[in-house]
Symmetry: C2
Subunit: 189 residues, 2 copies
């Protein structure tokens, strides 16, 4: 039996995206966000929604650029830490011992230790209420070459990404391969 639980945006699960920005003084900052995802294939774009209270919001609005980095499970403590403190009064890179690197193509930094980095320029900002959605046009993507399989796809067992549950705020790992899209359902055609 289905129970109404109120108006809740509960898409299970949400990704964990670490957004890298520079502030007005050029200090690099990172913070994790889960409200967002892929939003266009051509041009390739990603969306991340930010509250005005965050340092990332002001930095991305100023520089019109950000990076999205995907953490491996062995970076979960550093990732979570960067969501607990603010870049206003903390140098998160030195505190986490992560290494800030200037993105090759956009005015934003990324943490060298992260395996996947998406370089974005801001093309749209959409005011939605508590959150402003930033659309980032992807200008380049960097992936650790040791993670790429012979098809050029990321080996998920090596990347070891994790996800976020939007109600309980719990992190979960990604589990096993189940099947291929546009194939596992073919027997119903």
């Amino acid at each position: 039996m289905k129970k109404p639980v109120g108006a809740k945006p509960y898409i299970y699960p949400a990704p964990v995206m670490v957004v890298g920005t520079y502030d007005a003084q050029g200090k690099p900052d990172i913070a994790p966000f889960s409200w967002g995802g892929i939003c266009c294939s051509d041009p390739p774009c990603v969306a991340v929604s930010l509250r005005k209270a965050t340092y990332t919001y002001h930095n991305a609005m100023l520089k019109k650029a950000f990076t999205v980095s995907i953490p491996s499970l062995d970076l979960i403590k550093q990732t979570d830490y960067t969501g607990i403190v603010s870049g206003r009064d903390t140098d998160k890179f030195s505190r986490t011992k992560l290494t800030p690197v200037k993105s090759p193509h956009v005015d934003a930094p990324y943490p060298a230790e992260f395996p996947v980095v998406i370089e974005c320029v801001v093309t749209h900002t959409i005011e939605l209420g508590s959150h402003t959605q930033f659309i980032g046009k992807v200008v380049n993507t960097l992936i650790e070459d040791s993670l790429l399989d012979k098809n050029g796809y990321v080996d998920i067992k090596k990347l070891r990404p994790f996800v976020f549950m939007p109600d309980s705020y719990a992190y979960y790992s990604v589990g096993d391969f189940i099947g291929q899209a546009f194939s596992i359902g073919e027997k119903l055609t």
Copy 2:
């Protein structure tokens, strides 16, 4: 060593959202999408990006409403099937033996067998290129009560959601509980 792989919107992993719409004749349709996610907390909003070639695009544009349902792993074949064929020439509900139910609050259907249903009205459509992003304001959410734990959160081991890899188009299960957000990183503070 990081390798540039071109401009790719590779946020790992993406969710699997089944979008329910009515066509102009009132025929219910569902199709799976992975470009999208949560985009605002207050008002609660979700985003899903649709290509103009899809039946869902035209239905959602016409009715200004859609549902997002989250499949369990035991619905993966039906979910994937609804992405292989088009609602233009297929009654996907009868073919998959899923049961269309009129959403209580919006002009859109959902599949009764799906455990989580988010009822949305379209508030924004943003042209991005290959995809148009639809922002849906959530007006109500329905969850199978057998999935809810004592805190009112979904028990992920019962929901058994799955995810989609944006490069290889592979489905993966959700794995194990790793920790709580805003807590697992606290020892670095």
